[in-house]
Symmetry: C2
Subunit: 185 residues, 2 copies
């Protein structure tokens, strides 16, 4: 099993963050939910457009509804998460109605900030692309003006041993490409 390697000193939250699946079903504080959204809110964006939008599921009925848009493979573990967030972004600029080329990029930055504030608060996060955009669109009656991007599970780490065997094998921080591979000369 390869381990993550750090060649330079970087912030603890970035070093220690990964995307676990063994969520505890324990509820998290309302304060924590608001604070991670506050972190997302302060991300930078083109023309300060702030294209990021969130649908928050935290009550039982809301969670069941959001769980339903996930792929079966994600439902297996995400069913324990006490909070699920659907991330959307607005496709056009409020300024002039033109297409916002950077809307997904800027919303990715907001998700990054959210993930690190969660980490700082001892919470785990796991973003999923494995869900049905069609189901999401229908379930939440999402307007055409938004890009439907990802579902994020937020909560506390639970019990590794309760994961199905196939997921136990994957329950480890993934490594990364070398710095050389992401720098174009």
């Amino acid at each position: 099993m390869k381990k993550r390697e750090f060649n330079f000193e970087i912030m603890t939250q970035i070093k220690e963050r990964w995307s676990p699946r063994a969520f505890s079903s324990e509820k998290i504080e309302e304060e924590d939910i608001n604070a991670i959204l506050e972190a997302a809110r302060y991300a930078p964006s083109c023309f300060n457009e702030q294209p990021w939008r969130f649908i928050v599921a935290k009550e039982e009925v809301e969670l069941a509804k959001m769980l339903d848009i996930l792929t079966p493979q994600n439902q297996i573990w995400a069913k324990n998460a006490p909070v699920l967030l659907l991330i959307l972004s607005k496709k056009t600029f409020e300024l002039d109605g033109r297409e916002n080329y950077w809307n997904m990029f800027d919303t990715g930055t907001a998700w990054g900030y959210l993930s690190l504030e969660a980490q700082r608060r001892g919470l785990i996060t796991h973003a999923m692309g494995g869900f049905s955009k069609a189901k999401a669109s229908e379930a939440y009656n999402i307007s055409e003006q938004y890009t439907i991007i990802a579902v994020v599970a937020v909560g506390k780490y639970g019990n590794f041993n309760e994961l199905p065997d196939a997921l136990k094998e994957r329950e480890v921080p993934e490594t990364r490409k070398a710095l050389d591979e992401i720098i174009i000369k």
Copy 2:
């Protein structure tokens, strides 16, 4: 002048980060450049694809070349920055060659991590959409497989008084929408 308001305790780097224009021309350490790229490297991404790519300009000739792709309005202040980064992302998955719907989103997360590690190191960053993608593509001979996203200036804070008057007025952290405005019920 409106001030930023924080209703919840969030990490210092997020609270204090903004996008200044008064860059000092003072060089930054090679260690700092590598560490902020290391932070970007550890962002999460769909299938751990890591679509983010960076072209780094730090020598005089490289900086002049990258400055040349910026809009004149950005050149005015970005000319002082000791480091300019061009952010690209790979459009397809290595796994199966299919379109990566999340490529800009994931690369936005990497930029978010980079911006906070820079902040932790006392550096300032300013991402710009104001540049010519056509010029960038030609100057760097960028393959069609990459989305050309943004140029980021990285450096130390310089002298406010050296900014042109029009930019002095804008040299202040921008406020944000209320939390209510980014949460869809």
